[in-house]
Amino acid sequence: MEIKMNLISEDKINSMTSTEKLRFVLDGVKSGDIVVLEGGLTSEEQMKLIELTMTEVDDDFSGIEMSGYPSKKGFLNIRKKTRLTVIGPAKMMHTTKKDKDLISAIISAI
């Protein structure tokens, strides 16, 4: 069985509102895709994604697996710069190792 990955550029992500981003990610994941976001989601967006995910968990969709590099401190240590985030269906994706600059995950077909 094939697994589809969507690698989304930072430009595309930046052109969306927070709500559009979360809907876009969750729709992709619910249809079985692995979504990789260049530039990533902020921690607030990730929390909102968990909240949105929980409203849609049912017998067939158990939720998401999400991994990302932690954000970096930006200008004057105030503005944080987010980095890559990868999100997939919990039944298909399993993070095996993670640190500040490395994510190892196993992705398997259901």
Partner: protein
């Protein structure tokens, strides 16, 4: 939208920096499922309110707490309360006799459901639950996660509980910490379950070096004095 959030965060930080303190702090006990949140909340209540009062039941089944519970009117007063430390080796300054501190803090403690990105009813079947019961628990657990997230808007500080026997560098822990930092809300990490042989609180301290990490066993009551003193220092 982003600049509105940034201003809110700056205002929150300013308010805290100017020591605009309310009489009673609302402190949320947060963490992943089975980290020991209810055990810690019960420990605080038993020590400072009533040793027969429980805010919830702690079991090995994940998502046992599926509704946030607030216990109002708790006063942590270490001047009037002696605490025995069952394992003085945890802290070189500990003596075998009961210790007294100086800290005093009035708080409402909020025991929250475990935060998770996935809830699969099949996992509950392994604990002997019937399918209908497992599905009902899973549904309630999803509502609990949402409730825990919504409570973050009303919290003055959080104790983030982590299981010292598990890898702390999970996305959920990173998200909670990131959110608290963005909101300017103080956070203490409690490295729980240090009574277990494979516990490694140092791994948690290494993963989050920018935050206070207090090794404790909420179940056995180990090193609780250090946690209470840190809570009084950060949340007062």
């Amino acid at each position: 939208m982003k600049s509105k959030r940034r201003w809110k965060s700056i205002l929150t930080r300013l308010r805290r920096a100017l020591s605009f303190r309310k009489g009673t702090a609302k402190i949320g006990i947060y963490g992943p499922p089975n980290a020991g949140k209810t055990t810690l909340t019960n420990r605080i209540i038993h020590t400072f309110v009533d040793e027969n009062e429980d805010v919830g039941t702690a079991t090995e089944v994940p998502h046992e707490t599926r509704r946030a519970v607030r216990r109002a009117g708790v006063t942590i007063d270490l001047k009037t309360k002696s605490l025995e430390n069952p394992n003085p080796d945890l802290n070189s300054e500990s003596k075998e006799k009961p210790k007294r501190g100086k800290a005093k803090l009035k708080l409402d403690v909020v025991d929250t459901p475990g935060l998770a990105t996935k809830i699969d009813f099949h996992e509950f079947l392994a604990y002997g639950l019937e399918e209908d019961e497992a599905k009902r628990r899973a549904k309630e657990a999803t509502e609990g996660v949402i409730e825990a997230i919504k409570w973050l808007d009303d919290i003055d500080g959080i104790v983030l509980l982590m299981d010292s026997t598990e890898d702390p560098y999970t996305q959920t822990n990173i998200i909670i910490i990131g959110n608290m930092e963005a909101r300017g809300i103080p956070i203490i990490i409690a490295a729980n379950k240090v009574d277990l042989v494979d516990a490694s609180p140092q791994r948690i301290a290494n993963a989050f070096p920018q935050h206070s990490v207090i090794p404790i066993s909420a179940l056995k009551g180990e090193n609780m004095l250090d946690l209470y003193e840190e809570m009084a220092r950060r949340f007062r």
